[in-house]
Symmetry: C2
Subunit: 128 residues, 2 copies
């Protein structure tokens, strides 16, 4: 019988949306780089910009604001002239590094397999 079943998409539960938000952060091109860099210690705005390299001022600002909003990074303004702003990982931000590093380790470990799969797939696509 075809009664009305539960069709609530799995990804729309409260828990799943929370997980998605974090996955989005991690998937973001710049967030992880910033967190990684900040893991080595406090950093100023332009310092971050230089060390990461390739990030625009706009994206650095936006990404830092996002990280700050999620409580992963603190922003400290020193009322000097010229202004000095320091960014630092919070305990929460530090704790995120562990699972992220695990993922990075997985990526490095299996990179050869992935590259091989890519070549195989592309080669097969070629001859189609």
């Amino acid at each position: 019988m075809t009664v009305t079943e539960d069709v609530t998409p799995l990804h729309e539960t409260s828990d799943c949306r929370a997980v998605s938000a974090v996955l989005g952060r991690v998937g973001d091109k710049w967030s992880v780089l910033i967190i990684s860099r900040l893991g080595d210690g406090t950093c100023r705005f332009n310092e971050l910009k230089r060390m990461i390299g390739g990030i625009s001022q706009r994206m650095l600002t936006l990404t830092l604001r996002g990280l700050e909003r999620d409580g992963l990074v603190t922003r400290t303004v020193f009322p000097t002239v010229p202004p000095r702003v320091e960014y630092e990982l919070t305990a929460l931000g530090q704790s995120l590094r562990e699972p992220v590093d695990a993922l990075a380790a997985w990526a490095l470990e299996h990179q050869p397999e992935i590259a091989a799969a890519n070549r195989l797939y592309d080669q097969r696509s070629q001859s189609s």
Copy 2:
């Protein structure tokens, strides 16, 4: 003295690009959901579409192709009529679940802190 220093952006090393690619996969809205669903067993195209819900045909196809290209999923076509195609996680795909689950666990565990940080941040932005 200001000699020409090493300004190679950290994210442009070979290793880092490999890690980024994986982080991109994980950050992708649909990839993780598909992998998660496939973790419970083989699945057909429309089966996946229904269970995930909210994904367009186009994105399901594109995402599955990407997962297949990276060797995370296998695609098996049964030459019947109507056609029957089954998707299944590879061993590599299975192995990815571990670090991803760790990240999901982190997200769930710290969700309250993140939500609180969000509220605090938004509240402060309000009064500015």
